[in-house]
Amino acid sequence: DTAVSQTPKYLVTQMGNDKSIKCEQNLGHDTMYWYKQDSKKFLKIMFSYNNKELIINETVPNRFSPKSPDKAHLNLHINSLELGDSAVYFCASSHPRTGDTGELFFGEGSRLTVL
């Protein structure tokens, strides 16, 4: 059973398009994340979300928006795609206790290529 699953695994699209990446976790975790990994493998937090709070990295353009229909899902929607959005996007989840920072469980990644 896949703990954190993302779809699609690969996505090729044109500049200006709108696209979504879906993420689901079956671990019963309360908190989900989106990370962006650039071509140099640098990993940067984009969003953190639980059923109480959305934390947004202020450097993320507002063209990016997380959408969570329920606790097990956190989708990433991107408007007006730009060349610089090309990257691998990772979804992750964790189950931290209050004041704790638990380990993250990552999906396999979604490679986005903007032409």
């Binding site: 990370y35 640098f42 931290p96 920072t101 469980f105």
Partner: protein, 112 residues
């Protein structure tokens, strides 16, 4: 504030030799420290973490890491490297309850 540095982009080691992947951190409090491994075209996998207690933490696949508060370091180690250990390794740091910040990653190459 929290930050982490991995000073080496790449570490090369011969199979059977001990390996060390370096990590230093900066936080304004007691750190939560993590190591993750990423194999090609895969997501990151958790290896081990330090919260408190014994400075030597043992994790998956025979890896261990040593927390050194005075040097603000959390180096990853393994006594005998395997070719299959070749991968990208990430150190991460967080204050309790905060989102982890990841280092830039170190590529480990184990030569047969």
């Amino acid at each position: 504030a929290q930050s982490v540095a991995q000073p080496e982009d790449q570490v090369n080691v011969a199979e059977g030799n001990p390996l060390t992947v370096k990590c230093t951190y900066s936080v304004s409090g007691n750190p939560y420290l993590f190591w993750y491994v990423q194999y090609p075209n895969r997501g990151l996998q958790f290896l081990l973490k330090y919260i408190t207690g014994d400075n030597l933490v043992k994790g998956s696949y025979g890896f261990e890491a040593e927390f050194n508060k005075s040097q603000t370091s959390f180096h990853l180690k393994k006594p005998s490297a395997l070719v299959s250990d070749s991968a990208l390794y990430f150190c991460a740091v967080a204050l309790g309850g905060y989102i982890p910040t990841f280092g830039r990653g170190t590529s480990l190459i184990v030569h047969p």
